[in-house]
């Protein structure tokens, strides 16, 4: 926490992402230089990052989430490559128990006929779990390391960035739309949106409004639930890190143990809800 003057700044700093974005013409940068033409650059402060608007990337979120995705696919891919139906090794045992868990869940929750649901649920669960797990690393470790490498801001937990959670939720949303159209046909899907809950033509606008709001709620509920939980937990971790070092452990240890549960639970909830939404997309009303 070297260099931070106040607690508020410390917290803000920890929750700011390393942003690479487009700077408009005439923009005055925090170090006083004026941008003469449209440039893409790394934001020097969180204010500048928000001034970049939509045309920006959070490099840390993308890096850590893709790294976690690579870890997931690497480990599971390795297990899949050396798979045997005989006596399994340690890695295969671990991977199989996760797969068994996901398969059981999808069998109980998902009643449609879609062989893709298993891998979709598995990817969501393990990926979100790994991204959440990044927060079990003490809050100053990764930002400390990256600041040595010259990056001012690093938020190592992709799920404390709403972009991270919304990104996954939008992926699930696209799958909901895709499978709804695939199973019921575009016409059938439209008809379902227009004629439920009230099957009368005069109520089509009302039905459409209700159903579309209901549909859009799904990605929002997915993304905001995960983001809210992870963000709140991270804020507490940062607050604990503000305490004198010799008392930190009294709060950090229980909170960390609690978060072993939260991390797993939130990943589980994200997966279950995704499967439930996809199940609804496969059902005819």
């Amino acid at each position: 926490m070297a260099g931070e003057s106040t607690a508020a700044e410390f917290i803000q700093h920890h929750l700011s992402n390393l942003t690479y974005g487009r700077l408009p013409e005439g923009h005055v940068r925090p170090d006083g230089t004026v941008v003469e033409q449209v440039t893409w650059s790394i934001a020097q402060s969180s204010t500048e990052a928000s001034e970049m608007g939509f045309m920006a990337f959070h490099l840390d979120t993308l890096f850590f989430s893709f790294a976690m995705g690579a870890v997931f696919l690497g480990v599971f891919g390795l297990a899949a490559k050396n798979v045997t139906s005989g006596v399994p090794g340690h890695l295969q045992n671990l991977v199989e128990s996760v797969i068994d868990f996901v398969q059981d869940l999808t069998k109980n929750t998902f009643h449609g006929n879609n062989p893709m649901i298993g891998p979709i649920a598995l990817t969501i669960f393990v990926w979100v779990f790994l991204m959440n797990s990044m927060k079990l690393i003490p809050v100053d470790y990764i930002p400390g390391l990256t600041s040595l490498m010259g990056f001012d801001y690093t938020n190592a937990v992709p799920t404390t960035d709403p972009n991270g959670t919304f990104g996954v939720a939008i992926g699930v949303f696209l799958m909901i739309i895709y499978y709804s159209c695939k199973v019921k046909g575009f016409g059938g899907f439209t008809k379902e949106l227009s004629f439920t809950p009230f099957p009368h033509w005069t109520l089509i606008p009302f039905n459409l409004f209700l159903e579309i709001v209901g549909l859009l709620t799904k990605p929002f509920s997915l993304a905001l639930r995960l983001f809210g939980n992870m963000y709140a937990g991270e804020v507490i971790f940062i607050l604990i890190a503000l305490l004198p070092f010799y008392v930190q452990f009294t709060l950090q240890v229980p909170w960390l143990i609690f978060h072993i549960l939260v991390v797993t639970l939130q990943a589980f909830i994200f997966m279950v809800l995704s499967v439930v939404y996809l199940n609804a997309a496969h059902e005819h009303h």
């Binding site: 045309m55 899949a80 398969q103 990817t123 919304f166």
Partner: protein, 156 residues
Amino acid sequence: MNINLTMIGQTIGFLIFVAFCIKYVWPPLVGALQERQKKIADGLAASDRASHDLELAQKKAADELRKARAEAAELVDKGNKRAAQILETAKADARSEGERLITQAHALIEQERQQARDALRAEIATLAIAGAERILETSVDPKVHSEMLDKLAAEL
């Protein structure tokens, strides 16, 4: 807390991960799980079959054993009977042989006695003649009296 292109990048990443998982991760792992399940099911069925076979074999073995025992008992019985028979025959043979031997011995003894008697008779005749010669103090012509002496000997 800015919403920006990161979200879209994240979505693309997510979809790529899912596609990769669908293509390369899920099928071999689940395939292996199902294969193992089948192997275990087959193994259990085989063990069921084997225990059933074992039961049958045991029953069959018990049957065979009982049959063999009965056969053995029968054989022993037959053997005993046959032994008794042989013993009986042997006894009878021995008895008749013994009797024959006794008869033979009797005959032999009779014969020897006869011979001895004959020899004695001849001896006595000679002795009688010698005695008579002494008594008479005369020479008796053996040729003249031999007929009479033979007659005498035959009377002994």
